[in-house]
Subunit: 559 residues, 2 copies
């Protein structure tokens, strides 16, 4: 066996070609024997169109699981679900030590414990200059601003050079919670050693042409909005946006209102933020039980459900009384958030329910009450210029984001490549080169089991939802003759068809007629009989109601 | 019987509390014996979240159908599906003469013929001053600008006064196709007789704070965009936006490109527009067969599918070759359209598919390539001021739009009321008064039958999609004893559960065990047996895969 040269590889398993489900692998060593580290184990959320009934969508980490003995460590950049949400579900396949900062670590530990795993696999890491040695990798956490506390970029030093993995970030000189953007720190990162070999960079907001705004710019308009309100004020935002929660709560306090947090996730986040020390001076809050007794003009609720989620507090309030609290004419409901594409219908449903109650709904229409947690195009360009990497691989984005980001890089003369999930990139030389295509994809947490995206379970659900389902039961006696009539049941189909007869009766009539005149060879052959029964069901259903249902046949033979 | 006084009533059956499915009724006469006219018979579109498998959603016109003998006429303001789409489906229940302008009439006739109805029930009406006498109503069509040719407001004169029903409209001084906004005409409408008694007004864009822009402002940026393109140019917009098609085609011609229309709906619209005389000077087009032989730098396609519809031309091109045409690196795809809330995922899917092909996708991000067809808030206020109605009833909007519009009116001292579907409003006095609440809602065209929204068919589909479906077959012999083992089939559920055994085998094992030890009284009682079988299936499924499936049981008794 010839000795292979060491190489530095990058392999996205999620997040490259989509927004969400981030999971990236780096490797260093001889080809096929690289030592590996994993950055983020995120999930994405199902929808009725493509994944009905599914609970969570996780990256397919089969490639990684088959090489678990080569994994040195798992690093989590921050505690958003699309970066940490798969950790507890997939950790048992990887079993490596998990490194992250304190706040992230608290949430990681809770998630592991929720699934019966040991939280001591999580190691809390101090930010740079502290470093974690993981095989050939030396990893430092660099605080960045984002819409959750303690988000971090990773400086990954390898024998082939320095990789900067931004994670999700924005440039914020006054982020309300956490460290302000420090250009001199980034400058230092670029200056050390041979500089930045490769920059793996967040692409979410590459299409936003104007510089991003600071979280701190929201205090003034939010304070004015709450001060001007007459009735109860209710604000929703992402529970994990602890800086926003603070700004909102302070706006409430400034208006002399008692602040009440509603929603399990929100209380969990604030508790973790306070306990980890990232959140200080949060205004004191009242419980829902106490809130009930406070005059509406003196009350402000901060609630979960900014994306219209049906079980969150905002949707509960939109349906009526929740924990004794109820909105009414003259109250104000604020979406201090952006609606994620795909969630519009749920959000609009809530807006209209509040409108029916006479509640004034304010959203981020004018950009006054929300800022993004991601760097916009000019900010990204600023980071490119600060770090001056040899290569730039865009990550965390749909294909169009990655492509645009790669273009921006190429236009500056930085070598770049659109690397989507499953594309292993060799970074060794200073020019990204596709090394291999890895079979990858998604797995579904469905109830309490993991199912493959392609194994047909979800496809069958979608078919039943679109076409309805007919079940046929036929009993054949010892001689193989039909015993009694065929029986049909239908679900998800119109009861009555064009003929005016019940659909199942029309189906049964044709099935029975078929059975009575069917050839013995057909009746004896399970496959042929099944096929004939299906054909009849679909034919009758098409004539009667214009649909071709899914069909399940049960042929019971008494022999 | 005391003689009742004549009254003027307004009853929205669709469109008031939603954007789409417009259907409004006006009545005049003694209470309960009013003569009626119908304005618009529109539909709305299903979605996977709430109406999987449904083809179209129509207003529930039971109230109207029960009073068909009192209907004088049906008026259609314009040919958008949400105003005309239910006509052919619901006309058989109403059987009244249909009045509309020429272009609308051509499309109405096609729709009726498509469903085997006589197109001669459609009467084409010239615009004001021409009038249609319909019982106590005298109705004039006033040309307005919108995103389809020959959209019209209706002037409805009644013994109780003049009603102006705006339909969908915008104010456009240079609409490219059709008549320009003429304030003097609206002024005249307000001056005649006793002025405007009631204004029923489009509310779609009440939340858009800036004045609307003219369709003609798009010519310059679109021409520049196409002129600057190197490869093939493909543009999509609503097929019915004939003015936009013209602007796009002219931009193509100006750049020396051959123009090809793709998509059935688009060709149908252009043909109707040319034949009805509303569209003149449309650049000559080439067929897809001819287009294949034209160099991509000399070709421009104008295609259907701006909302990401899976079967439309844009989605077909996103999947690969369509009618011999295929996009490639360096081509340009333009969305000259706005994405309707709820359609984001489909549109984004197409954008990314094109990105993978190396196609540059341009959307209306900067407002350069699309303008709305609806009047914005300042434009609406302009119309209020021009018409100076006694009352304003907002229509065509979700609840939040109607409420905001009513507020705007009230702030000007105009009497207003939020009237949602099913609220009959008495307009006689000059102050809107709720007269009655009518049972209303939606019906679904499902395959070729109409089903009720509340009759459980769609609910069952959604449940099967979320929970999966298990079918159980049990045979009991002449003595009521189980004959053989229970049989289970599952659809839309994981094959293997926690125990490692196939799910259906785990279910069958527990069912068989139950049957073998079940009390005779349970086995004899269909309901009790059914309930027991369901409970076992759900319990096993919950343990094995963490889901509670829908269950269908078939118990065959050989006695």
């Amino acid at each position: 066996m010839t000795k292979k040269k060491d190489r530095l590889i990058y392999l996205p398993l999620g997040g490259a070609g989509e927004i969400g489900m981030n999971c990236y692998v780096y490797g260093y060593g001889p080809e096929g024997r690289e030592r590996l580290i994993v950055v983020d184990l995120g999930l994405t959320f199902p929808d009725m169109d493509t994944t009905p009934g599914v609970d969570l969508i996780l990256p397919d980490i089969s490639w990684l699981a088959a090489r678990a003995d080569r994994i040195e460590a798992i690093f989590i950049t921050h505690a958003h679900e699309d970066h940490i949400g798969a950790l507890a579900h997939l950790w048992p396949q990887l079993k490596a030590q998990v490194f992250c900062r304190r706040f992230t670590g608290m949430l990681a530990a809770m998630k592991l414990e929720d699934r019966g795993l040991q939280p001591n696999v999580v190691s809390v890491v101090e930010p740079r200059p502290h470093a974690v040695e993981a095989g050939p990798f030396r990893v430092q956490f660099v605080p960045v601003s984002h819409s959750i506390p303690e988000s971090s970029a990773l400086i990954i030093d390898t024998p082939a050079g320095r990789v900067v993995h931004t994670g999700d970030f924005k440039l914020d000189g006054a982020p309300v919670v956490g460290e302000a953007f420090a250009p001199e720190e980034w400058h230092a990162i670029a200056k050390e050693g041979d500089g930045v070999h490769a920059l793996m960079c967040d692409s979410t907001n590459i299409f936003s042409p104007r510089p991003g705004r600071s979280e701190s710019t929201l205090a003034e308009p939010l304070t004015a909005l709450v001060a001007g309100a007459g009735g109860m004020v209710v604000a929703t935002t992402f529970a994990s946006n602890v800086a926003r929660l603070k700004t909102l709560a302070e706006a409430g306090r400034a208006a002399g209102r008692s602040v009440c947090l509603l929603g399990r996730a929100m209380k969990r986040m604030v508790t973790a933020a306070v306990e980890s020390g990232v959140l200080t001076d949060f205004p004191s809050t009242v419980s829902p039980e106490q809130a009930v007794d406070i005059g509406r003009e003196n009350l402000m609720l901060i609630v979960t459900g900014s994306q219209g989620e049906r079980r969150a507090a905002s949707a509960q309030l939109a349906r009526g009384k929740y924990l004794g609290l109820q909105l009414a004419e003259g109250d104000l409901f604020l979406f201090s958030s952006k609606t994620i594409p795909g969630n519009e219908r749920g959000v609009i449903r809530i807006m209209n329910a509040f409108s029916e109650m006479g509640v004034d709904v304010v959203d981020d229409h004018d950009g006054l009450y929300h800022v993004s947690g991601h760097a916009n195009r000019p900010d990204l360009e600023g980071v490119h210029d600060l770090l001056r990497p040899k290569m730039l691989i865009p990550m965390h984005g749909e294909h169009r984001h990655l492509r645009e980001h790669a273009k921006v890089a190429s236009d500056k003369g930085i070598a770049s490549e659109v690397a989507t999930n499953g594309m292993m990139i060799d970074l060794t030389s200073g020019r990204p080169q596709v090394a291999e295509y890895i079979e990858t994809g998604r797995v579904y947490l469905d109830g309490n089991v993991l199912i493959g995206a392609m194994d047909g379970v979800v496809r069958d659900r979608i078919r039943m939802a679109l076409n309805g389902h007919v079940m046929v039961t036929v009993i054949l006696d010892e001689q193989g003759e039909p015993l009694g009539d065929a029986w049909a049941d239908a679900m998800g189909l119109a009861e009555t068809g064009k003929s005016g007869a019940p659909l199942v009766e029309a189906i049964e009539a044709d099935l029975t007629e078929f059975l009575n005149r069917a050839d013995h060879r057909v009746l004896k052959d399970d496959d042929k009989l099944d096929e004939a029964l299906r054909r009849i069901v679909r034919q009758v259903a098409m004539e009667e109601v214009g649909k071709k249902p899914e069909v399940t046949t049960v042929v019971s033979r008494l022999d």
